[in-house]
Protein backbone atom coordinates (compact mmCIF):
# COMPACT_ATOMS: atom_id res chain seq x y z
CA UNK A 1 0.00 0.00 0.00
CA UNK A 2 1.24 3.48 -0.87
CA UNK A 3 1.65 5.39 2.34
CA UNK A 4 1.04 9.03 2.95
CA UNK A 5 3.88 11.43 2.63
CA UNK A 6 4.73 14.27 4.97
CA UNK A 7 5.21 17.61 3.23
CA UNK A 8 7.07 20.33 5.08
CA UNK A 9 8.19 23.90 4.46
CA UNK A 10 11.83 24.50 3.68
CA UNK A 11 13.26 27.87 4.51
CA UNK A 12 16.78 26.89 5.39
CA UNK A 13 18.95 24.55 3.37
CA UNK A 14 20.50 23.14 6.50
CA UNK A 15 17.10 21.76 7.51
CA UNK A 16 16.88 19.28 4.65
CA UNK A 17 18.83 16.74 6.64
CA UNK A 18 17.04 17.28 9.95
CA UNK A 19 13.58 17.28 8.45
CA UNK A 20 14.36 14.19 6.38
CA UNK A 21 15.67 12.34 9.38
CA UNK A 22 12.53 13.26 11.31
CA UNK A 23 10.36 11.72 8.62
CA UNK A 24 9.67 14.36 5.98
CA UNK A 25 9.15 12.99 2.47
CA UNK A 26 8.44 16.15 0.54
CA UNK A 27 9.47 19.79 0.76
CA UNK A 28 7.98 23.00 -0.51
CA UNK A 29 9.85 26.24 -0.89
CA UNK A 30 9.32 29.73 -2.24
CA UNK A 31 11.79 32.31 -3.43
CA UNK A 32 12.24 36.06 -3.67
CA UNK A 33 13.16 38.10 -6.71
CA UNK A 34 14.23 41.70 -6.32
CA UNK A 35 13.83 42.32 -10.04
CA UNK A 36 10.22 41.24 -9.73
CA UNK A 37 9.64 43.68 -6.88
CA UNK A 38 11.28 46.52 -8.79
CA UNK A 39 9.23 45.79 -11.86
CA UNK A 40 5.82 45.03 -10.39
CA UNK A 41 5.94 46.94 -7.11
CA UNK A 42 6.40 46.11 -3.45
CA UNK A 43 2.86 44.77 -3.10
CA UNK A 44 3.15 42.33 -5.99
CA UNK A 45 3.55 38.85 -4.54
CA UNK A 46 5.36 35.96 -6.16
CA UNK A 47 3.76 33.59 -3.70
CA UNK A 48 1.32 33.83 -0.83
CA UNK A 49 4.10 34.55 1.68
CA UNK A 50 6.01 37.15 -0.33
CA UNK A 51 4.70 39.88 1.95
CA UNK A 52 6.96 38.57 4.69
CA UNK A 53 10.01 39.05 2.50
CA UNK A 54 13.07 36.94 3.16
CA UNK A 55 11.65 35.79 6.47
CA UNK A 56 9.40 33.41 4.56
CA UNK A 57 11.30 33.19 1.27
CA UNK A 58 14.95 33.15 2.16
CA UNK A 59 16.45 32.28 -1.20
CA UNK A 60 16.60 33.67 -4.70
CA UNK A 61 15.56 31.33 -7.48
CA UNK A 62 19.18 30.88 -8.53
CA UNK A 63 19.97 29.53 -5.08
CA UNK A 64 17.31 26.84 -5.23
CA UNK A 65 19.23 24.62 -7.62
CA UNK A 66 21.55 23.31 -4.95
CA UNK A 67 18.67 22.88 -2.53
CA UNK A 68 16.78 20.85 -5.08
CA UNK A 69 19.87 18.67 -5.44
CA UNK A 70 20.07 18.21 -1.69
CA UNK A 71 16.47 17.12 -1.55
CA UNK A 72 16.66 14.87 -4.60
CA UNK A 73 19.85 13.21 -3.41
CA UNK A 74 17.94 12.07 -0.37
CA UNK A 75 15.22 10.59 -2.52
CA UNK A 76 12.74 13.24 -1.46
CA UNK A 77 10.41 15.44 -3.49
CA UNK A 78 10.50 19.20 -3.89
CA UNK A 79 7.70 21.59 -4.81
CA UNK A 80 8.02 25.29 -5.54
CA UNK A 81 5.30 27.75 -4.60
CA UNK A 82 4.06 30.20 -7.20
CA UNK A 83 0.71 30.82 -5.63
CA UNK A 84 -0.02 34.51 -5.23
CA UNK A 85 -3.64 35.59 -5.44
CA UNK A 86 -3.39 36.71 -9.05
CA UNK A 87 -0.90 37.47 -11.80
CA UNK A 88 -1.29 39.87 -14.69
CA UNK A 89 -0.30 38.98 -18.22
CA UNK A 90 2.89 41.02 -17.84
CA UNK A 91 3.74 39.14 -14.66
CA UNK A 92 3.03 35.82 -16.31
CA UNK A 93 5.19 36.74 -19.29
CA UNK A 94 8.00 37.64 -16.92
CA UNK A 95 7.53 34.35 -15.11
CA UNK A 96 7.55 32.42 -18.34
CA UNK A 97 10.76 34.05 -19.49
CA UNK A 98 12.54 34.08 -16.13
CA UNK A 99 11.24 31.30 -13.95
CA UNK A 100 9.68 28.48 -15.91
CA UNK A 101 12.81 27.42 -17.84
CA UNK A 102 14.65 27.29 -14.51
CA UNK A 103 11.91 25.21 -12.93
CA UNK A 104 12.09 22.87 -15.86
CA UNK A 105 15.84 22.54 -15.64
CA UNK A 106 15.68 21.78 -11.92
CA UNK A 107 13.35 18.84 -12.51
CA UNK A 108 11.15 19.77 -9.58
CA UNK A 109 8.33 17.47 -8.57
CA UNK A 110 5.67 20.11 -8.83
CA UNK A 111 4.85 23.75 -9.15
CA UNK A 112 2.23 24.90 -6.67
CA UNK A 113 0.00 27.31 -8.58
CA UNK A 114 -3.13 29.24 -7.76
CA UNK A 115 -5.00 29.63 -11.03
CA UNK A 116 -5.73 28.05 -14.37
CA UNK A 117 -3.45 30.34 -16.36
CA UNK A 118 -0.35 29.55 -14.30
CA UNK A 119 -1.31 25.89 -14.37
CA UNK A 120 -1.57 25.89 -18.16
CA UNK A 121 1.82 27.50 -18.45
CA UNK A 122 3.39 24.88 -16.22
CA UNK A 123 1.83 22.12 -18.30
CA UNK A 124 3.26 23.75 -21.41
CA UNK A 125 6.73 23.42 -19.89
CA UNK A 126 6.15 19.87 -18.76
CA UNK A 127 6.23 20.81 -15.09
CA UNK A 128 3.86 18.81 -12.87
CA UNK A 129 1.08 21.03 -11.55
CA UNK A 130 -0.08 21.10 -7.97
CA UNK A 131 -3.15 23.26 -7.42
CA UNK A 132 -2.62 25.37 -4.34
CA UNK A 133 -5.30 25.83 -1.73
CA UNK A 134 -5.43 29.27 -3.32
CA UNK A 135 -7.07 27.55 -6.27
CA UNK A 136 -10.29 26.99 -4.32
CA UNK A 137 -10.95 23.33 -5.09
CA UNK A 138 -14.16 23.30 -3.07
CA UNK A 139 -16.08 20.86 -5.17
CA UNK A 140 -15.78 18.19 -7.88
CA UNK A 141 -16.59 20.61 -10.69
CA UNK A 142 -13.70 22.89 -9.83
CA UNK A 143 -11.38 19.90 -9.45
CA UNK A 144 -12.43 18.58 -12.85
CA UNK A 145 -11.52 21.89 -14.42
CA UNK A 146 -8.02 21.73 -12.98
CA UNK A 147 -7.64 18.11 -14.03
CA UNK A 148 -8.71 19.01 -17.55
CA UNK A 149 -5.82 21.46 -17.68
CA UNK A 150 -3.39 18.81 -16.54
CA UNK A 151 -3.10 19.15 -12.77
CA UNK A 152 -1.45 16.21 -11.03
CA UNK A 153 -2.16 17.11 -7.43
CA UNK A 154 -4.89 19.08 -5.70
CA UNK A 155 -4.45 20.71 -2.30
CA UNK A 156 -7.80 20.75 -0.55
CA UNK A 157 -9.04 23.94 1.09
CA UNK A 158 -8.83 23.85 4.86
CA UNK A 159 -12.55 24.45 5.21
CA UNK A 160 -13.90 21.24 3.71
CA UNK A 161 -15.18 18.32 5.77
CA UNK A 162 -13.78 14.82 5.50
CA UNK A 163 -17.02 13.66 3.92
CA UNK A 164 -16.62 16.29 1.23
CA UNK A 165 -12.99 15.38 0.66
CA UNK A 166 -13.96 11.75 0.24
CA UNK A 167 -16.73 12.62 -2.16
CA UNK A 168 -14.42 14.64 -4.40
CA UNK A 169 -11.72 11.97 -4.33
CA UNK A 170 -14.14 9.24 -5.33
CA UNK A 171 -15.42 11.36 -8.19
CA UNK A 172 -11.99 12.44 -9.40
CA UNK A 173 -9.59 9.61 -8.54
CA UNK A 174 -7.04 10.34 -11.24
CA UNK A 175 -4.96 12.88 -9.30
CA UNK A 176 -3.15 13.03 -5.99
CA UNK A 177 -4.62 14.93 -3.08
CA UNK A 178 -2.96 16.84 -0.30
CA UNK A 179 -4.46 18.15 2.94
CA UNK A 180 -3.38 20.69 5.50
CA UNK A 181 -2.24 18.88 8.56
CA UNK A 182 -0.54 21.01 11.20
CA UNK A 183 0.41 24.46 12.50
CA UNK A 184 -0.93 27.87 11.52
CA UNK A 185 -4.63 27.72 10.86
CA UNK A 186 -6.84 29.98 8.81
CA UNK A 187 -10.44 30.71 9.69
CA UNK A 188 -11.14 32.28 6.30
CA UNK A 189 -10.79 30.84 2.82
CA UNK A 190 -7.23 30.75 1.51
CA UNK A 191 -8.48 31.11 -2.01
CA UNK A 192 -10.78 34.04 -1.42
CA UNK A 193 -9.07 35.92 1.38
CA UNK A 194 -7.56 38.83 -0.50
CA UNK A 195 -6.14 40.81 2.40
CA UNK A 196 -2.40 41.21 2.56
CA UNK A 197 -0.14 38.95 4.57
CA UNK A 198 2.53 41.41 5.65
CA UNK A 199 4.38 42.21 8.85
CA UNK A 200 2.82 45.68 9.14
CA UNK A 201 -0.71 44.31 9.21
CA UNK A 202 -0.54 40.56 9.71
CA UNK A 203 -3.19 38.31 8.24
CA UNK A 204 -6.80 39.45 8.05
CA UNK A 205 -8.00 36.63 10.29
CA UNK A 206 -5.58 37.59 13.05
CA UNK A 207 -6.64 41.21 12.84
CA UNK A 208 -10.29 40.25 13.18
CA UNK A 209 -9.51 38.27 16.29
CA UNK A 210 -7.50 40.80 18.16
CA UNK A 211 -8.50 44.34 17.19
CA UNK A 212 -11.30 46.33 18.76
CA UNK A 213 -14.63 44.87 17.85
CA UNK A 214 -18.06 46.41 17.94
CA UNK A 215 -20.93 43.96 17.66
CA UNK A 216 -24.13 45.45 16.28
CA UNK A 217 -27.18 43.27 16.64
CA UNK A 218 -30.90 43.39 17.07
CA UNK A 219 -30.81 40.23 19.17
CA UNK A 220 -31.14 41.46 22.72
CA UNK A 221 -32.48 38.67 24.89
CA UNK A 222 -30.19 37.45 27.65
CA UNK A 223 -29.92 34.09 25.93
CA UNK A 224 -28.90 35.70 22.65
CA UNK A 225 -26.40 37.97 24.39
CA UNK A 226 -24.89 34.93 26.02
CA UNK A 227 -24.75 32.96 22.80
CA UNK A 228 -23.14 35.81 20.88
CA UNK A 229 -20.60 36.54 23.59
CA UNK A 230 -19.63 32.91 24.07
CA UNK A 231 -19.40 32.35 20.34
CA UNK A 232 -17.23 35.42 19.96
CA UNK A 233 -14.92 34.38 22.77
CA UNK A 234 -14.45 30.85 21.48
CA UNK A 235 -13.89 32.01 17.92
CA UNK A 236 -11.41 34.74 18.80
CA UNK A 237 -9.50 32.97 21.53
CA UNK A 238 -9.44 29.35 20.49
CA UNK A 239 -10.64 28.56 17.01
CA UNK A 240 -7.77 27.47 14.78
CA UNK A 241 -5.15 29.56 16.51
CA UNK A 242 -3.14 26.53 15.68
CA UNK A 243 -4.71 23.89 13.55
CA UNK A 244 -4.24 20.16 13.50
CA UNK A 245 -5.59 17.13 11.69
CA UNK A 246 -3.81 14.43 13.68
CA UNK A 247 -6.99 12.64 14.73
CA UNK A 248 -7.97 12.37 11.04
CA UNK A 249 -4.84 10.50 9.92
CA UNK A 250 -6.58 7.12 9.89
CA UNK A 251 -9.32 8.46 7.64
CA UNK A 252 -6.76 10.14 5.41
CA UNK A 253 -5.13 6.76 4.98
CA UNK A 254 -8.45 5.13 4.18
CA UNK A 255 -9.29 7.85 1.67
CA UNK A 256 -5.94 7.58 -0.05
CA UNK A 257 -4.64 11.05 0.67
CA UNK A 258 -1.14 11.37 -0.78
CA UNK A 259 0.38 14.02 1.38
CA UNK A 260 -0.05 15.73 4.74
CA UNK A 261 1.10 19.31 4.76
CA UNK A 262 2.81 20.88 7.72
CA UNK A 263 2.94 24.63 7.14
CA UNK A 264 5.13 27.30 8.68
CA UNK A 265 7.73 28.71 6.35
CA UNK A 266 8.56 31.33 8.95
CA UNK A 267 8.28 29.05 12.00
CA UNK A 268 10.95 27.68 14.30
CA UNK A 269 12.82 24.61 13.15
CA UNK A 270 12.51 22.67 16.40
CA UNK A 271 8.75 22.97 16.39
CA UNK A 272 8.50 21.71 12.84
CA UNK A 273 10.77 18.76 13.60
CA UNK A 274 8.56 17.80 16.54
CA UNK A 275 5.50 17.93 14.30
CA UNK A 276 7.16 15.85 11.60
CA UNK A 277 8.17 13.17 14.09
CA UNK A 278 4.75 13.05 15.67
CA UNK A 279 3.04 12.85 12.30
CA UNK A 280 5.35 10.08 11.12
CA UNK A 281 4.62 8.10 14.26
CA UNK A 282 0.88 8.52 13.86
CA UNK A 283 0.97 7.54 10.19
CA UNK A 284 2.66 4.32 11.26
CA UNK A 285 0.02 3.76 13.94
CA UNK A 286 -2.76 4.45 11.45
CA UNK A 287 -1.51 1.83 9.00
CA UNK A 288 -1.12 -0.70 11.79
CA UNK A 289 -4.59 -0.05 13.18
CA UNK A 290 -7.49 -2.30 12.24
CA UNK A 291 -10.07 0.39 12.83
CA UNK A 292 -10.41 4.09 13.45
CA UNK A 293 -11.28 3.42 17.06
CA UNK A 294 -8.03 1.55 17.47
CA UNK A 295 -6.13 4.41 15.89
CA UNK A 296 -7.82 7.00 18.07
CA UNK A 297 -6.98 4.98 21.16
CA UNK A 298 -3.36 4.52 20.25
CA UNK A 299 -2.40 7.69 18.41
CA UNK A 300 0.06 10.05 20.04
CA UNK A 301 -0.76 13.61 20.97
CA UNK A 302 1.42 16.60 21.45
CA UNK A 303 2.80 16.86 24.96
CA UNK A 304 0.37 14.53 26.68
CA UNK A 305 -2.82 15.94 25.21
CA UNK A 306 -2.54 19.69 25.55
CA UNK A 307 -5.48 21.95 26.22
CA UNK A 308 -5.94 22.72 22.55
CA UNK A 309 -6.71 19.06 21.90
CA UNK A 310 -9.10 18.70 24.81
CA UNK A 311 -11.04 21.78 23.77
CA UNK A 312 -11.09 20.65 20.13
CA UNK A 313 -11.12 24.12 18.61
CA UNK A 314 -7.85 23.46 16.84
CA UNK A 315 -9.24 20.55 14.86
CA UNK A 316 -9.37 20.81 11.10
CA UNK A 317 -11.73 17.85 11.23
CA UNK A 318 -13.60 17.83 14.53
CA UNK A 319 -16.09 15.38 13.06
CA UNK A 320 -13.63 12.57 13.76
CA UNK A 321 -14.29 12.83 17.48
CA UNK A 322 -17.52 14.84 17.69
Amino acid sequence: MKTMNILVPLNDRSCVSEFSNAGADEFYIGFYDENWSRRFGEFADINRMSGFGKLANKYALSELKNIVSDVKNRGKKLYITLNANAYSRDALTYMEETYYPVFKSMNIDGLIVSDTVSASLAVKYGIPVTVSTMGGAYNRDVVKEYISIGAKRIIFPRDLSLTEIGSIMRTCPEVEYEVFHMRNGCVLSDSHCLGMHRPECGATCGYLRYKDEQVITDLHSFADDHDIELNDYLYNMLFHNEACAMCAVYRFAQLGISSLKIVGRADDTEGIIRDISLTAENIRIAYESQSEDEYLRNMRFHDNVPQKCRLAFSCYYPEVRF
Binding site: D45, D141, L160, S189
Partner: protein, 272 residues
Protein backbone atom coordinates in the same frame (compact mmCIF):
# COMPACT_ATOMS: atom_id res chain seq x y z
CA UNK B 1 -38.35 34.26 7.64
CA UNK B 2 -41.09 36.85 7.10
CA UNK B 3 -40.59 40.54 6.69
CA UNK B 4 -43.25 43.18 7.21
CA UNK B 5 -42.71 45.05 3.98
CA UNK B 6 -40.58 45.18 0.89
CA UNK B 7 -38.18 47.72 2.29
CA UNK B 8 -37.21 45.40 5.09
CA UNK B 9 -37.08 42.50 2.72
CA UNK B 10 -34.62 44.30 0.52
CA UNK B 11 -32.54 45.47 3.42
CA UNK B 12 -32.16 41.98 4.74
CA UNK B 13 -31.66 40.39 1.39
CA UNK B 14 -29.18 43.02 0.37
CA UNK B 15 -27.14 42.39 3.44
CA UNK B 16 -26.99 38.72 2.73
CA UNK B 17 -26.97 38.62 -0.98
CA UNK B 18 -25.85 41.88 -2.46
CA UNK B 19 -29.29 42.87 -3.70
CA UNK B 20 -29.26 46.28 -5.29
CA UNK B 21 -31.50 47.96 -2.77
CA UNK B 22 -32.09 51.58 -3.42
CA UNK B 23 -35.12 53.23 -1.97
CA UNK B 24 -37.25 53.71 -5.05
CA UNK B 25 -38.95 56.63 -3.41
CA UNK B 26 -35.68 58.54 -3.64
CA UNK B 27 -33.56 57.04 -6.40
CA UNK B 28 -34.06 55.13 -9.56
CA UNK B 29 -32.68 51.71 -10.08
CA UNK B 30 -32.67 49.36 -12.98
CA UNK B 31 -32.25 45.90 -11.60
CA UNK B 32 -32.02 43.86 -8.45
CA UNK B 33 -29.38 41.34 -7.45
CA UNK B 34 -30.52 38.21 -5.68
CA UNK B 35 -28.68 35.12 -4.53
CA UNK B 36 -25.29 35.46 -2.93
CA UNK B 37 -21.67 35.83 -3.94
CA UNK B 38 -20.51 34.42 -0.65
CA UNK B 39 -22.85 31.96 1.04
CA UNK B 40 -24.16 28.70 -0.44
CA UNK B 41 -26.38 28.15 2.60
CA UNK B 42 -28.15 31.42 2.00
CA UNK B 43 -28.40 30.79 -1.73
CA UNK B 44 -30.08 27.45 -1.25
CA UNK B 45 -32.23 27.99 1.81
CA UNK B 46 -33.35 31.61 1.71
CA UNK B 47 -37.08 31.97 1.23
CA UNK B 48 -37.09 35.46 -0.24
CA UNK B 49 -36.94 34.54 -3.91
CA UNK B 50 -40.68 34.31 -4.71
CA UNK B 51 -41.30 37.75 -3.28
CA UNK B 52 -38.45 39.36 -5.15
CA UNK B 53 -39.35 37.65 -8.42
CA UNK B 54 -42.92 38.82 -8.04
CA UNK B 55 -41.86 42.34 -7.11
CA UNK B 56 -39.60 42.64 -10.13
CA UNK B 57 -42.03 41.05 -12.51
CA UNK B 58 -44.74 43.56 -11.59
CA UNK B 59 -42.35 46.48 -12.01
CA UNK B 60 -40.63 45.23 -15.14
CA UNK B 61 -37.28 45.10 -13.34
CA UNK B 62 -34.56 42.71 -14.38
CA UNK B 63 -32.74 40.45 -11.95
CA UNK B 64 -29.12 39.37 -11.74
CA UNK B 65 -28.76 36.04 -9.97
CA UNK B 66 -25.52 35.67 -7.98
CA UNK B 67 -24.24 32.14 -7.45
CA UNK B 68 -21.67 31.50 -4.71
CA UNK B 69 -18.89 28.93 -4.64
CA UNK B 70 -20.54 25.75 -3.41
CA UNK B 71 -18.67 23.39 -1.16
CA UNK B 72 -18.94 19.78 -2.27
CA UNK B 73 -21.73 18.90 0.17
CA UNK B 74 -23.99 21.61 -1.21
CA UNK B 75 -23.03 21.48 -4.87
CA UNK B 76 -25.90 19.32 -6.05
CA UNK B 77 -28.48 21.20 -4.02
CA UNK B 78 -27.01 24.43 -5.29
CA UNK B 79 -27.37 23.34 -8.88
CA UNK B 80 -30.95 22.24 -8.28
CA UNK B 81 -31.79 25.56 -6.67
CA UNK B 82 -30.13 27.40 -9.51
CA UNK B 83 -32.24 25.50 -12.01
CA UNK B 84 -35.40 26.22 -10.05
CA UNK B 85 -34.65 29.92 -9.86
CA UNK B 86 -33.79 30.21 -13.55
CA UNK B 87 -37.08 28.52 -14.38
CA UNK B 88 -39.16 30.50 -11.91
CA UNK B 89 -37.53 33.75 -12.95
CA UNK B 90 -37.31 33.19 -16.68
CA UNK B 91 -39.13 36.45 -17.37
CA UNK B 92 -36.97 38.58 -15.10
CA UNK B 93 -33.60 36.87 -14.50
CA UNK B 94 -31.51 37.91 -17.47
CA UNK B 95 -28.03 37.02 -16.22
CA UNK B 96 -26.35 34.61 -13.83
CA UNK B 97 -23.24 35.65 -11.95
CA UNK B 98 -20.77 32.84 -11.29
CA UNK B 99 -17.79 32.87 -8.99
CA UNK B 100 -15.71 29.80 -9.78
CA UNK B 101 -14.49 27.91 -12.82
CA UNK B 102 -16.67 24.90 -12.14
CA UNK B 103 -19.87 26.91 -12.04
CA UNK B 104 -18.70 28.94 -15.03
CA UNK B 105 -18.64 25.78 -17.11
CA UNK B 106 -21.88 24.46 -15.63
CA UNK B 107 -23.89 27.60 -16.34
CA UNK B 108 -22.25 28.11 -19.72
CA UNK B 109 -23.43 24.65 -20.74
CA UNK B 110 -26.77 24.90 -18.94
CA UNK B 111 -28.67 26.55 -21.72
CA UNK B 112 -29.06 29.96 -23.15
CA UNK B 113 -28.17 31.80 -19.95
CA UNK B 114 -25.94 34.88 -20.14
CA UNK B 115 -23.07 34.64 -17.67
CA UNK B 116 -21.26 37.29 -15.66
CA UNK B 117 -17.86 36.69 -14.07
CA UNK B 118 -18.45 37.49 -10.42
CA UNK B 119 -16.34 39.41 -7.95
CA UNK B 120 -14.58 36.30 -6.62
CA UNK B 121 -12.90 35.78 -9.97
CA UNK B 122 -10.98 39.02 -9.54
CA UNK B 123 -8.53 38.06 -6.85
CA UNK B 124 -6.14 40.97 -6.80
CA UNK B 125 -5.12 41.81 -3.25
CA UNK B 126 -6.91 44.61 -1.46
CA UNK B 127 -6.63 45.70 2.14
CA UNK B 128 -8.32 48.53 3.96
CA UNK B 129 -5.77 48.27 6.75
CA UNK B 130 -2.99 49.64 4.58
CA UNK B 131 -3.70 53.22 3.48
CA UNK B 132 -0.88 53.12 0.94
CA UNK B 133 -2.46 50.08 -0.60
CA UNK B 134 -5.83 51.78 -1.02
CA UNK B 135 -4.68 55.27 -1.99
CA UNK B 136 -3.26 54.27 -5.34
CA UNK B 137 -4.11 53.12 -8.83
CA UNK B 138 -4.74 49.40 -9.14
CA UNK B 139 -5.77 47.13 -11.96
CA UNK B 140 -7.33 43.71 -12.16
CA UNK B 141 -5.00 40.96 -13.31
CA UNK B 142 -7.66 38.83 -14.93
CA UNK B 143 -8.65 41.69 -17.21
CA UNK B 144 -5.31 41.31 -18.96
CA UNK B 145 -6.42 37.91 -20.24
CA UNK B 146 -9.00 38.75 -22.91
CA UNK B 147 -9.54 35.10 -23.84
CA UNK B 148 -10.90 34.47 -20.37
CA UNK B 149 -13.22 37.44 -19.99
CA UNK B 150 -14.48 37.13 -23.55
CA UNK B 151 -15.54 33.51 -23.30
CA UNK B 152 -18.71 32.57 -25.10
CA UNK B 153 -21.78 33.47 -23.07
CA UNK B 154 -19.85 35.74 -20.74
CA UNK B 155 -21.55 39.10 -21.05
CA UNK B 156 -20.01 41.01 -18.21
CA UNK B 157 -17.74 41.27 -15.22
CA UNK B 158 -18.28 42.34 -11.62
CA UNK B 159 -15.50 44.23 -9.90
CA UNK B 160 -14.75 45.59 -6.44
CA UNK B 161 -13.48 49.08 -5.54
CA UNK B 162 -10.13 47.80 -4.31
CA UNK B 163 -8.28 51.14 -4.66
CA UNK B 164 -9.03 54.82 -5.08
CA UNK B 165 -8.32 54.63 -8.80
CA UNK B 166 -9.20 51.55 -10.80
CA UNK B 167 -7.15 50.99 -13.92
CA UNK B 168 -9.47 49.63 -16.60
CA UNK B 169 -7.23 50.38 -19.55
CA UNK B 170 -6.86 46.66 -20.20
CA UNK B 171 -10.55 46.56 -21.13
CA UNK B 172 -10.75 49.88 -22.90
CA UNK B 173 -12.57 48.22 -25.79
CA UNK B 174 -14.46 45.60 -23.79
CA UNK B 175 -18.01 45.28 -25.04
CA UNK B 176 -19.43 43.49 -22.03
CA UNK B 177 -21.09 45.07 -19.03
CA UNK B 178 -18.71 46.27 -16.34
CA UNK B 179 -20.33 46.33 -12.91
CA UNK B 180 -18.69 47.93 -9.90
CA UNK B 181 -19.67 47.06 -6.36
CA UNK B 182 -19.91 49.81 -3.78
CA UNK B 183 -19.63 51.48 -1.41
CA UNK B 184 -17.96 48.51 0.26
CA UNK B 185 -15.06 46.49 -1.07
CA UNK B 186 -15.05 42.77 -0.43
CA UNK B 187 -11.81 41.68 1.21
CA UNK B 188 -12.24 38.16 2.54
CA UNK B 189 -14.67 35.30 2.97
CA UNK B 190 -14.63 31.75 4.30
CA UNK B 191 -16.73 28.60 4.26
CA UNK B 192 -16.88 28.66 8.05
CA UNK B 193 -19.38 31.23 9.27
CA UNK B 194 -18.76 32.76 12.66
CA UNK B 195 -22.29 34.11 13.00
CA UNK B 196 -23.82 30.85 11.84
CA UNK B 197 -22.35 29.19 14.95
CA UNK B 198 -23.89 31.57 17.47
CA UNK B 199 -26.73 29.25 18.38
CA UNK B 200 -24.86 25.97 17.96
CA UNK B 201 -23.68 23.83 20.84
CA UNK B 202 -20.01 24.21 21.68
CA UNK B 203 -18.91 20.96 20.09
CA UNK B 204 -20.69 21.76 16.81
CA UNK B 205 -19.41 25.29 16.32
CA UNK B 206 -17.32 26.53 13.40
CA UNK B 207 -17.81 23.73 10.95
CA UNK B 208 -17.76 24.43 7.23
CA UNK B 209 -21.02 25.18 5.48
CA UNK B 210 -23.36 23.67 8.01
CA UNK B 211 -26.85 25.03 8.41
CA UNK B 212 -27.68 28.08 10.45
CA UNK B 213 -30.54 30.25 11.63
CA UNK B 214 -29.55 33.11 9.34
CA UNK B 215 -27.97 34.87 12.27
CA UNK B 216 -26.20 37.02 9.69
CA UNK B 217 -29.44 38.96 9.32
CA UNK B 218 -29.12 40.08 12.90
CA UNK B 219 -25.43 40.70 13.55
CA UNK B 220 -22.68 42.84 12.08
CA UNK B 221 -19.17 43.25 13.46
CA UNK B 222 -16.99 46.30 13.01
CA UNK B 223 -13.26 45.98 13.66
CA UNK B 224 -10.87 48.87 14.09
CA UNK B 225 -7.29 49.47 15.14
CA UNK B 226 -7.27 52.41 17.58
CA UNK B 227 -3.56 52.85 17.09
CA UNK B 228 -3.93 53.36 13.36
CA UNK B 229 -6.87 55.70 12.87
CA UNK B 230 -6.12 56.17 9.17
CA UNK B 231 -6.82 52.52 8.52
CA UNK B 232 -10.27 51.69 7.31
CA UNK B 233 -12.50 49.69 9.59
CA UNK B 234 -13.18 46.12 8.59
CA UNK B 235 -16.78 44.98 8.68
CA UNK B 236 -17.77 41.36 9.00
CA UNK B 237 -21.17 40.89 7.38
CA UNK B 238 -22.28 37.32 6.96
CA UNK B 239 -19.31 35.21 5.93
CA UNK B 240 -17.53 38.06 4.23
CA UNK B 241 -15.32 40.92 5.36
CA UNK B 242 -15.52 44.34 3.74
CA UNK B 243 -14.01 47.79 4.01
CA UNK B 244 -15.65 51.09 3.17
CA UNK B 245 -14.48 52.45 -0.15
CA UNK B 246 -17.07 54.89 -1.47
CA UNK B 247 -15.09 57.19 -3.76
CA UNK B 248 -13.53 55.50 -6.72
CA UNK B 249 -12.35 56.78 -10.05
CA UNK B 250 -11.62 54.75 -13.12
CA UNK B 251 -9.16 55.28 -15.92
CA UNK B 252 -9.32 53.75 -19.37
CA UNK B 253 -13.00 52.97 -19.22
CA UNK B 254 -16.07 53.88 -17.25
CA UNK B 255 -18.22 51.32 -15.50
CA UNK B 256 -21.62 50.49 -16.90
CA UNK B 257 -23.39 49.60 -13.74
CA UNK B 258 -23.05 50.53 -10.08
CA UNK B 259 -24.15 47.84 -7.66
CA UNK B 260 -25.11 49.31 -4.32
CA UNK B 261 -24.71 47.27 -1.14
CA UNK B 262 -26.77 48.89 1.64
CA UNK B 263 -24.70 47.77 4.56
CA UNK B 264 -25.00 51.16 6.23
CA UNK B 265 -28.76 51.02 6.04
CA UNK B 266 -28.78 47.50 7.36
CA UNK B 267 -26.51 48.41 10.26
CA UNK B 268 -28.74 51.33 11.11
CA UNK B 269 -31.73 49.05 11.16
CA UNK B 270 -29.98 46.68 13.55
CA UNK B 271 -29.25 49.59 15.83
CA UNK B 272 -32.94 50.42 15.81
Amino acid sequence: MMYPDFRDLFDAAAFLAGINIIDDRKLSFERIYIGSSFCPVYFIFSDIYPKVLDYCSKRNLKISLSVPVFNEALLQQGKEKLGQLIEAGKDVIDEVIVNDIGMLRYVSEYGNVPVVLGRLFFKDPRDGRLPAFVERTAGFSLLTFPDFINQEKVIGIELDPLADVLDLRAIRDYRGVVTLNGPYCYMSVGMICKFGSVHKTVDQKFRPSTGCRFECQHIVEIHADPHRPLNKKLIRAGRAVFFYQPKVETIGRSVDRQLYFPLDEFTQRLKG
